[in-house]
Symmetry: C2
Subunit: 565 residues, 2 copies
């Protein structure tokens, strides 16, 4: 193994991450600003050129077992990408993965950490190339594609490395066990423990955050000695193909078999995820995606340990605020960001029928609704800002869902009008549709409607708003909730209700911080405590069950007494 330099090179980064997961203050290893001063003056141009050079060609991955090609990506920005990926024989890939694991699982924790940290380091250097890959598969605006697809995803990967490192180091490699068994006899055993991985880990990527949501599982499994099969979404393959390419290079340089990390691609017409996750050889599944298939994976992949990050219905409880413009402005950004395609985007805004509490007295329900619509309209009135923040819509199905919501019921307060883009005339763009409904319209607001669809729900009171939002999350799943209020008692009520519904609550946000944001090393993403997912990114539970410790016990002979002579 030649990778010990990798560990030494990145040990400080690991130490920083270990401190951060303990203190949970702000920390980041990888700069989020896409600046030439940080990444090099030519980094953006180089990254764009590297990305462009991939277009319209087969993706050359140094991996065998191909039995054809697939090519299902199309940029939501309306340009041709046309990259062909290998379609591989599942059994061959799994066989190779198993063989590759043999040396990987025997490596030291430090050797594996060195490889993982070096992969993350190289991913970071390639953040601009990754940004274009993410942008033109997910539809994210460039800034988000850079940050969420690059440094923030790398931070999430590093966070998993740190948790796995800590979990494995919690047990010593050896110990001397000495027990007095009688007045004259002591038994002493040398005990050693070795780490045994669970087996082949499969990561099922999603179409909207292919790297951010996949890196925790990939790195948690790698760190703990498992080999990893990466199965990207057919519509967002390039970001994970790039990741696999980099990982394989680092593995080879460190003297390991490249097949410790493999890529399995499929198409919308001939998906392989179902066969893959229930395969006898698969011991771990990390799934991010919709609830329907996620629920199926949880119920059927019983031979594996499944970690799921699905979707939920996120809520806003608007009870009152000191500054209506500041609050609706903050909320408008949350609603517009990536056209509502974040799993943390609010869907339902609960407002009491008697309006909201402000320093100027009660603002009526209708005026409160109008203020939200106005804030969204104002935010989107600057085309450049609108384009950058909204991004494009990843899947045509999302636009169809928005179209259905327009006529499904309730009162349309703001139509989800298409937005023109100056650089990408064929981009799939939309803005938030805002529909007002009643409490009783549960068929509307209790269904997840992924994408740019917002329901304002008129309720009897803010207490009722909290009840509806928390209860809905408990039954249907939920990731985030936001509360704006001037009433401290209501904050306490909300904290209690949302905590026990497993929903992270943000209170009275204004300015440069939004409910959709989830920061590595501090915020747990998805609680695992409601139907939105069974795992969180990232805690001890996310890593500790990916490996086992197995012991050997050998007696230490009792010391020979010196003969008295």
């Amino acid at each position: 193994m030649t990778d010990s330099n990798f560990f030494a090179a990145h040990e400080d980064t690991l130490k920083g991450a270990l401190d951060a997961i303990g203190s949970r203050g702000f920390w980041s290893a990888y700069p989020e600003v896409p600046s030439g001063r940080v990444y090099g003056e030519t980094a953006r141009a180089d990254g764009q050129a590297a990305w462009k050079a991939r277009l319209g060609k087969p993706f050359e991955l140094d991996q065998g077992y191909a039995i054809g090609t697939v090519s299902d990506e199309s940029s939501p920005w309306g340009i041709e990408t046309g990259i062909e990926y290998p379609r591989c024989d599942l059994n061959q890939v799994l066989g190779a993965s198993r063989c590759a694991m043999d040396a990987w699982k025997r490596a030291s924790v430090e050797d594996r950490a060195g490889v993982c940290l070096e992969i993350l380091h190289r991913l970071n250097k390639r953040s601009f190339e990754m940004a274009f890959a993410v942008m033109h598969t997910t539809g994210q605006g460039f800034m988000m594609a850079f940050q969420a697809g690059g440094p923030h995803a790398q931070d999430r990967g590093l966070e998993a490395v740190a948790h796995a490192y800590a979990a494995m180091k919690a047990c010593p490699q050896s110990a001397t066990w000495s027990k007095r068994v009688s007045k004259t006899e002591t038994v002493t055993l040398d005990k050693t423990w070795r780490i045994v991985p669970r087996g082949i880990a499969v990561t099922i990527g999603c179409s909207t955050f292919p790297t951010w949501n996949s890196y925790p599982g990939i790195f948690a499994s790698l760190m703990t000695g498992n080999s990893v099969v990466v199965k990207p979404h057919p519509g967002a393959t390039l970001p994970l193909a790039l990741t696999v390419e980099i990982a394989r290079d680092v593995l080879a340089e460190a003297g390991f078999d490249r097949d410790v990390v493999t890529l399995v691609c499929d198409s919308h017409d001939a998906p392989v995820a179902q066969d893959l996750v229930v395969h006898d050889d698969v011991a771990i599944v990390d799934y991010t995606g919709g609830n329907a298939f996620g629920d199926w994976v949880e119920a059927n992949a019983t031979q594996a340990r499944v970690y799921s990050e699905k979707a939920g219905i996120n809520s806003v409880v608007l009870d009152g605020c000191d500054d209506v413009r500041a609050v609706t402005g903050n909320l408008a950004f949350s609603l517009c960001l990536y056209s509502g395609q974040m799993c943390t985007t609010p869907q339902n805004i609960f407002i009491p029928e008697d309006g909201i509490d402000t320093p100027d007295g009660r603002m009526s329900f209708d005026d409160a609704c109008a203020a939200i619509v106005k804030a969204v309209d104002w935010f989107l009135s600057d085309p450049a800002r609108a384009n950058e923040v909204l991004g494009a819509v990843q899947s045509p199905a999302t636009l169809e869902r928005q179209a259905s919501a327009r006529t499904a019921g309730g009162t349309v307060l703001r139509d989800g009008a298409p937005v023109a883009h100056e650089h990408f005339p064929d981009a799939r763009l939309a803005s938030p549709l805002i529909v007002q409904v009643e409490e009783a319209d549960a068929a509307l607001h209790e269904q997840e409607c992924f994408g740019p669809v917002v329901y304002i729900v008129r309720t009897a009171s803010s207490a009722r708003s909290i009840e509806l939002a928390a209860d809905g999350a408990k039954r249907k799943g939920g990731l985030t909730a936001a509360l704006w209020t001037r009433d401290d008692a209501l904050i306490d009520t909300a904290i209690d209700a949302f905590t026990h519904a497993g929903v992270a609550l943000s209170v009275n946000l204004t300015g440069q911080i939004w409910v959709n944001q989830s920061a590595a090393f501090s915020d747990y993403h998805v609680s695992g405590a409601n139907p939105a997912g069974n795992a969180t990114l990232c805690d001890a539970a996310f890593v500790a069950d990916r490996f086992r410790l197995v012991a050997t016990r050998i007696p230490v002979p009792a010391p020979v007494e010196e003969a008295a002579c």
Copy 2:
């Protein structure tokens, strides 16, 4: 809550346990010697009297929801016990359990730890009463019933308390998150995290080690805020009924609802475990027992997180030794202890056809077999020792299994003759049946034959012995392996093979230490890395997924600049 004194009273015990799970040297909180000097001169008599006072009567548990009684226990020692337990309405118990959890989950980690530590402390004081309860349900001899049913089980419970405490303390309760978001602006958030339990936890007890195997799950779930429903084996109810009684008293004294811990009893004819583990309200299942039902639980209780401790086929690889008598003596004790009813008891002894390596040269295969038989015979030649060590056979089915094995194939080297007992004439007693088979007789030695049945398997070589034993464990499950050899290279081969089969290996044991022993705070019991179970007692994976952390984020206003005047 009045339980803060409980935490203060036992904080040193917790600290000792936390140190022990980190260093994994020998440590114990509860003395294993059933001595009057430790437990009080009248402790044995008092415990026996307390146990006797329960016989032939309803078990008075201060718990409602009863819809009848069950009484399926009978002492394997042949005496009448005749205790009646309440049969309860499942839905009522689960409803009460859910209500009781509400205050329990909101308590501090210290308050919950205080209650758990006090329960263990009181269990320890009642160790003699528990010993008789365990002896006359499981059939264990008195010494084992005292140690394994009392202090060793308490240590296993404390170990789980320590792991859960450490896992919950790994995340701070609050943090200040401060991020520079522009040249002039910093966002600061106060973050708080609360612990949310997974939900109602069900513990399914087994008939042979009702306390030792159940305490880890019970205490891990309690510590992390879950309520616990205890479902004992119908044939070994008293030890867990006693435990529940003590737990409920401590809960009430601490101001909690007694129904945080409830007892659900059933009978062989009308079992409720199946309904219970797949109930929608059940979020955690800790299962100890046979593989058939365990596999069913794992496949069907998909609404819950299942931790299973099933059975496996344990192996001995006998390649050679320095002192044949010392080794066969050590092995004979392991084979006789509790008539082979420990899940750690060896079943298969693999010996190469060309015999074993000794300082006096090669001992033939037949002579090696004869030495083992002789050691068992010698060990059992002292009736008092035989009675105490063999104990009684818990279930008549185990005797039937032994009877079938006698004629199923192979050559009987030693018959599993019944043993007489001077004090208990009606006891269900047996001694090990030893059958010689060939490698090819996989239908015999690759089936778990729980109880006093031992196969000696003739193999082509010791390398082949290791291969057969490790491969069998990987496919069918295995908890322990023992190797005796004079060849260091073979030790390395065995460590590698058994480690990757998830089997704890003991090498060259002689004297007062046996392969069946598993010490709390040091030995992981069941690896979770083969079909003998999916969990280990006890590690971070065993506790970390029983709770979640849910956050609230509230901005901290920027400091107001002093006006320059």
